[in-house]
């Protein structure tokens, strides 16, 4: 085989690989399936899942009065185990007043400023993560259900575009790892399919709970791209696309990941 043929052959292989495209529904896997037996056991048992510490804090905050209105979440929403069931599985959701999708953390903060008349909680603060984890815990085991209509379609498309766009100094698109090479490894760690089924989740590397936005910012830094600030519309669009892409998969919050 001449060098030229060999190169052409290699190039065609690369193209075939790059054209792997979207993951067929039957092959979708949560990051849970790629974890070690020990880490899976840690997530499955509430007695050992460190994310439960935040969930318990969230329960306390849910029932604590806050702000000038002196109202607790529970004063309007009642028992979260009933009222918040499957709610997190529908977020990010379109907000008609803002005219764009908002994620769960933003929704909690909107409730705080509008209904409780309290200052919004900082992104990644212990309190906001605890409330988000408590709310999302009520969706554990339920399928993700992102409904897209004409109003939210442009934001989903923007998120999809961002997922497939090469960016950063490494010139990598999210899809090149998470759609095309999810069966492979990167620096010894399995590459996941990037289904956000368990956020906010406890990452052993972080030694704490973190949001999907924290994870996305980490990935962006990883490809040497400038990451967006917390709450940026670009991040929410990407969250919307990822959750929509995982439609039908079961929520795991609070998940544990290595």
């Amino acid at each position: 085989m001449s060098l030229r043929t060999a190169l052409l052959f290699a190039a065609s292989l690369l193209c075939a690989r790059a054209g792997a495209g979207e993951i067929p529904p039957s092959e979708r896997r949560s990051g849970y399936d790629l974890m070690s037996r020990e880490t899976r056991a840690m997530q499955d048992d509430d007695a050992t899942n460190p994310g439960m510490l935040w969930v318990l804090d969230g329960e306390t905050l849910w029932n604590r009065k806050a702000g000038a209105a002196d109202r607790a979440c529970s004063d309007c929403h009642g028992d979260a185990r009933e009222s918040m069931k499957a709610v997190a599985a529908r977020y990010p959701a379109f907000d008609a007043a803002l005219g764009r999708p908002v994620n769960l953390e933003q929704r909690i903060n909107m409730c705080r400023s509008k209904r409780q008349k309290a200052p919004p909680l900082a992104f990644e603060s212990r309190e906001l993560l605890a409330l988000a984890a408590y709310v999302a815990r009520q969706s554990r085991g339920l399928p993700i259900e992102i409904a897209i209509d004409a109003r939210s379609r442009p934001f989903l498309d923007a998120g999809s575009e961002a997922f497939h766009r090469r960016q950063g100094q490494l010139n990598l698109a999210c899809s090149q790892c998470h759609d095309d090479h999810w069966s492979g490894k990167l620096a010894g760690s399995p590459i996941t399919q990037a289904h956000p089924t368990g956020y906010p989740l406890y990452r052993l590397e972080w030694q704490g709970l973190g949001s999907l936005e924290r994870r996305l910012r980490g990935c962006l830094t990883g490809v040497r791209a400038e990451s967006y600030p917390y709450g940026a519309p670009e991040l929410v669009n990407l969250e919307l696309y990822l959750m929509w892409r995982a439609n039908g998969m079961r929520m795991e919050t609070p998940a544990v990941r290595p």
Binding site: M42, A47, P50, L53, L56
Partner: protein
């Protein structure tokens, strides 16, 4: 918020080996890390964990800077009599958390 979660079987047979799981909320700051401006972050860790069963110490751990945040400590003990398991975590900066769980032995 300093929180701890303990899991002990509610009932057991006399002489049975039971598993006890504890999870304490703590950053376990090693004291070796620095901020972006180079200042040392002071150490803040849990130093000691003890478990007493009806007043008798059955398990004790000394913790050191290399242990992870929110340490999970699981161990086993023998269900000797109905009573209370008392847990205590003591650490830097006056950190002290206590928790109890009861077990009924038949």
């Amino acid at each position: 918020m300093a929180r701890a979660v303990v899991t002990v079987p509610a009932r057991a047979k006399r002489g049975e080996i039971v598993e006890v799981k504890t999870l304490a909320q703590h950053p376990m700051e090693t004291g070796f890390r620095r901020t972006q401006t180079g200042e040392l972050i002071p150490r803040d860790i849990i130093r000691r964990f003890t478990c007493t069963y009806n007043g008798t110490e059955v398990y004790r751990v000394e913790l050191h800077p290399a242990m992870s945040a929110n340490p999970l400590i699981a161990f086993s003990t023998i269900a000797a009599e109905t009573g209370t398991l008392a847990f205590q975590w003591v650490g830097d900066n006056g950190y002290s958390v206590t928790e109890t769980a009861s077990i009924s032995v038949e």
